[in-house]
Amino acid sequence: MPNVVPMTSASTDARTDARTTGPLALLRPLSSHRTWQATFHAVAGMFLGAATGVVVVLLGVLWWAAVISLVQGANGHWLLTALYVVVALLAPLAVPPWVRFISALQRERFRALLGVEIAAPGHAPGSGWRSILRPWTTGATWRQLAYHLLTPLLGGLGGVVVLACWSAPVLLPLSVGTPSGPEYLLRFVGAIALLFAAPWVARGVAGADTAVARHLLGRGQAEELAERVESLARSRADLTSAADSERRRIERDLHDGVQQRLVCLAMNLGMARATLTTPTEEALEVIAAAHDEATAALAELRDFVRGLHPAVLDDRGLDAALSGVVARAPLPVKLRVDVPRRCSPSIEAIAYFAVSEALTNVAKHAEASRAEVVTEQVGDRLVVTVTDDGRGGASSEGAGTGLRGLAQRAAAVDGGLTVVSPPGGPTTVTVSVPCE
């Protein structure tokens, strides 16, 4: 169970046990930290379980008695009838809070004495009169109730056995009569055997109690899974947006740093090229070459940086950013953007890159004469469709298409990418992502 943190001291202890050799090794368990934890746990469980169990049983008995009396027709004083009614009504109300309280106590016993964390089941209070009945409809309440009814019996028994083992050397000699020599020896040996067994009995009882408590006081499997799914979804969303902001950061850094420097460099070279008249033909050629290189590097860097994250997407939204992509495409593309509200930056980025990647593919592979991009909001989803009139046969499975990476990005936000591309065309790439 992922919510249970295993006790660290136990493993340290086990290592200490293993290290000691010789006759002392036999005595080691008796004084071991873990043994005493288990013993205190069992004894505390015995008392706590008995006390809390009695209250639960008492409440149950009172309620049952009141109900039976009412059903059979109360014939005493009207005050008595009123009392029955009050008990019959209040007992069911009192049990769930009481159960929650004593479950918390028991969990605290596990945490404090064994270092075992047992996560409390979720408590949905509800509202109005439903809040009164709701606990009775959840499995968690019944499981906890079962624990509190079991523990006075089994936990009590366990505690008694553990105590008996420890106190055997004292109790056995003191018990009935004056035994004969061999019988005394037998009792003595038995007492010693019980004493040496005590650590294991205590650990066994604590272990069994822990197993039962985890099952009955902890969360149910469904709740566990639901929580896990929720936390996975949350961490996945965090990862996606972290990756996005990282791209933004890199884009900003490049824009403010390298790009500006490169513009300066190209500008200075340009000025040198334009103004220098005295240098030799060769020097001028070198300057011209450097100037051309710097200009080419600038153009390359610009494309790269824009591919990281288009700044206009944040400023002006999907429509503006997509107009740019469409305009840069080397074939005529019709664009329709019909998204009344803005989605989260991560979602807009996915839609943007989907169009960008799809159009790149169209230009590279499709042999299309025109394409159409439609972005619209369908329900609470953002749906992007890129259609071309090319030769078809495209697939999102091919490693080199870039569509695969996009499919993964879309999947990471509970979206999807589909490619419909029969041989001969037309090809339609559809990306559907939740517009959060």
């Binding site: 900003r252 513009v263 500008m267 000025m271 700044a311 305009a327 005529p332």
Partner: protein, 212 residues
């Protein structure tokens, strides 16, 4: 010609100041953000403003916003916007206020020193200087009237939108002067522009294509 320059990168601000000074402009002020640009424009009333798009505090489109304010408040002051990327939407915003005395160029263009200075002089003189990339982006979206024009006419219109005169177009296309005049007349006709003042029609034709 007096210039106010707004650019947040210290390095580039210094470089541009030198470039403009060497090119015969008088840089009366060079500021690092949009707020100070507006103050400087009020104080100096320059002939032309050169402004970067991304500036503090948000590093998004401060430059475009400032340019729009200047265009509205001081229509006589020419504005040339420089940007690392050209965005169709920024161009449309910029041109929506009018197409005279306006420029929108990729920052890279400053490396082509004489071309850049020419473009800036054209803007300062009330003309237009749009980066070829801007024009390409603006034209591609207008599918309706575009389809009426032949590819050659589209090319001529593209050059017109960049702010070139008929002579400039003649030189760029390496065709005869009369051929260019014929293309221009055809463009006006196909765009249903009445034969009035030629310069006025040029602006209208460009505007029509830019969809403003």
């Amino acid at each position: 010609m007096r210039v106010v320059l707004a650019e947040d990168s210290v390095l580039l601000r210094a470089g541009l100041t030198k470039l403009l000074t060497d090119g015969g402009f008088e840089v009366v002020d060079a500021v690092p953000d949009a707020d100070r640009l507006l103050t400087a424009v009020d104080a100096h009333r320059p002939d032309v403003v050169v402004v970067d798009v991304r500036m503090p505090p948000t590093h998004t489109d401060e430059g475009i916003r400032a340019a729009l304010v200047i265009r509205r408040l001081h229509p006589e002051i020419a504005v040339c916007v420089l940007s690392q990327y050209v965005e169709e939407r920024y161009a449309t915003d910029l041109l929506s206020v009018g197409t005279s005395g306006v420029g929108y160029l990729l920052k890279d263009r400053v490396a082509q020193v004489s071309d850049f200075l020419d473009a800036l002089r054209r803007v300062a003189a009330g003309g237009t200087a749009l980066d070829p990339e801007v024009v390409a982006q603006l034209l591609v979206r207008r599918d309706d009237p575009m389809e009426r024009l032949t590819p050659r006419e589209q090319e001529v219109l593209r050059l017109m939108a960049e702010g070139r005169s008929n002579n400039g177009i003649t030189a760029a296309l390496k065709v005869g002067h009369s051929a260019v005049e014929k293309y221009v007349t055809n463009i006006f006709a196909k765009l249903d522009l009445p034969p009035t003042d030629t310069d006025h029609r040029r602006v209208l034709a460009v505007l029509k294509y830019l969809g403003t």
